[in-house]
Amino acid sequence: MAQRGAAIRQEGKSMSESSMPLPGRLPDAAEQESRADTFGNIVEILHDWVTTVDHKKIGILYILYSLAMLVAGGIEILLIRLQLAGPRLNIIPAEVFNRLFTMHGTTMIFFVAMPIFVGFANYLVPLMLGVRDIAFPRLNAFSFWMTAFGGLLLYYSFLGGDGLQGAGTAPDVGWFAYAPLTERAFSRGHSTDFWALALILSGFGSIGGAINFITTAFCLRCKGMTLFRMPLFVWLMIVSSVLVILAVSPLTAAQAMLLIDRYLGGHFFDTQAGGSATIWMHFFWIFGHPEVYVLIMPAFGIASEVIPVFSRKAIFGYPAMVAASVSIAFVSLSVWAHHMFTIGMSAAGNAFFALSTMIVGIPTGIKIFNWLATLWGGKIRFEVPMLFSLAFLFQFLIAGLTGIMLAVAPFNWQLHNSYFVVAHFHYVIVGAILFMVFAGFYYWYPKVTGRMLDDRLGKLHFWLFVIGFHVTFDVMHIPGILGMPRQIYTYEIDRGWGTLNLIVTIGAFIQAIAIIIFVLNLIVSLFKGKIAGPDPWDAWTLEWTTASPPHDYNFDAEPVVYSARPLWDLKHPDDPD
């Protein structure tokens, strides 16, 4: 460790001789002000955070908000798992169960997974591109507050109705809210309105954020930062944002139709007046499937930053990575009806959606091979971010394989809406996406806070979470194959699902313990963590040239870039990239 510190210092010396602006040159006036813990100061700090348009602060707000939502969604799923731990349990009533799984799904997709990556991207994209801020800072703040109010509105539904204990008037129509269940006649009261309005609000936030990222990447880059020198994370955020534009907008339109039905007496999804329930499914999954790629793209981006740095090799096949991501995005726009094989499409329709779904496997395979080739012959450092990335590679592969199984229409007819499907998409969303979120936390926490996350707690978090994950989701496939449908609040003893479900529940609690350790680590390391310095991982992208945490103005002077790995060039002037 001491040796590495010395190496970093030495590199720091060689860096200071270059033209690259170095952190900490200019005294930061704001930091030098003495801050007493008076009430006025607290109000001032609060005011500062609420009114901020700084991309770093908004990024942190996004991340903190998503973490709070992660806890909320996590508590909901633990209650669900308790209820399912054995046959005929009576821990929560059926109506509450419906509300909880709807809230769990909606929360995790819209208010955890989406904003957490927007948070990462907010913080990192301008730093990686070597610029002062994002293209439209005020739009950025607007987007955050729309997202935040969306979540607030959704959780406001817990008040009223049966009261907090009965989950209030929380939406209970499932996260895909199939019609005509959502129509006035079948969903009385305001539970469905909370769902639709919350998602419209957060949808505006997501679209605003996507406009910002696309514009930033295309219009604001430091000198020499050509499109093909951008870090892959930025590329993948572009792809993710394009998908937000093309996928979240249809959802917003469909929600507007739903509200027209509910409030103005329209008939879009009103089957009694000739409306179609199927068209809602189409509209929802036109959003719903690309949404998965909206979430996985930034996860790919984090993997493409972390794996090279901890393999001590440049990413293998950079242009292929970009091309593969773009083609995944394109293909993902034409696969949505594989969620709907059981509604009775024509054979041609089934064949088209089965094939287009399988085609996704090709560019995805290219990406996995590229990551493996990056590892190949590298000097791998098994730090915590790398551990999460390696687990991601393995789990994402399995998630992809069960995805191809489900793409086969006849197989899908058997397992549609079963726990096999639930296990499959949790393998993607937890096993791939959440794992890369954690990798991102361990990798960039030093940049954001200036301190390292504790290594021992991190490894404990990793191993507990891996074990919990596999206990939960490997086992969850089996009750699915045995015929257990999703979204049921209990089951009979003679089904033989009891033991399997108990194991799944135990796994869920192991994951919960791991996440508690993670949150503890975040808090403890903020005060007691090892001081990180500007570049603790000996990385290559521009964000590591700034101080940790970066100054308000990011860079002392506009950086100039000569390759895809600007810091490598600085550290190895004799052997530039």
Binding site: F136, I211, N212, F218, L220, I260, G274, P573
Partner: protein
């Protein structure tokens, strides 16, 4: 690679104007929203269980269409005048654009008034009513937003507060107006030609 000197000239690319890129992105998002409403409209053509039907109540809004589409022309002339800093001409053509847009809105309003009072077609009457008022209404909403923004620019211009550097911003707004006009071509075709 190792022989490449670090002083290799920086490839300085000319970056596009951010307002333009953002507006094109917004237009993509809006197009996706309109597509969903258009798809719903086409899907539900002839699916209403009760009358009135489009053939019975809808008339081709030829003049309305001509007014709105010609506003694309006037806004282009206004832009050209602005580039030349011929502010008199700019105000004239910009004001004409607002006028044409307003006439279009009034036309839509009269059409709706007739549908509601004479034909008794509201948004809740049947599927045709639901899809018609949503699609045409969504477009009209965009015209209203456009008119508010156009009027704001006209006020600034009359107050002589338009600086030369605002030209780029006004071009971005014009882009939005062209989009609103293009959407009308789609709405016109779907609602009044195919759907009737």
């Amino acid at each position: 690679m190792s022989t490449l000197p670090i002083s290799v000239p920086v490839t300085d690319t000319h970056l596009p104007y951010k307002g333009r890129v953002a507006m094109f992105t917004l237009i993509a998002a809006e197009s996706a929203i309109f597509s969903i409403f258009v798809v719903a409209y086409i899907y539900y053509i002839g699916q209403s269980l009760s009358g009135p039907t489009p053939r019975e109540v809808l008339d081709l809004p030829i003049f309305n269409t001509i007014f709105l589409l010609s506003s694309s022309l006037t806004i282009m002339l206004a832009e050209r005048a602005l580039v030349r800093r011929a502010m008199g001409n700019f105000n004239l053509f910009w004001g004409l654009t607002i006028l044409l847009g307003a006439i279009f809105l009034i036309g839509t309003g009269r059409e709706w008034y007739k549908l509601i009072t004479v034909d008794h077609l509201t948004i809740s009457t049947n599927l045709f009513g639901t899809t018609y008022y949503s699609l045409v209404g969504l477009h009209a909403l965009h015209v209203i937003v456009g008119l508010i923004l156009l009027t704001a620019v006209l006020v600034f211009s009359l107050m002589k507060a338009l600086r030369p550097e605002d030209t780029k911003r006004i071009e971005v707004l014009a882009l939005y107006w062209h989009f609103v006009d293009c959407v009308w071509i789609v709405v016109f075709t779907v609602v009044y030609v195919i759907g009737r």
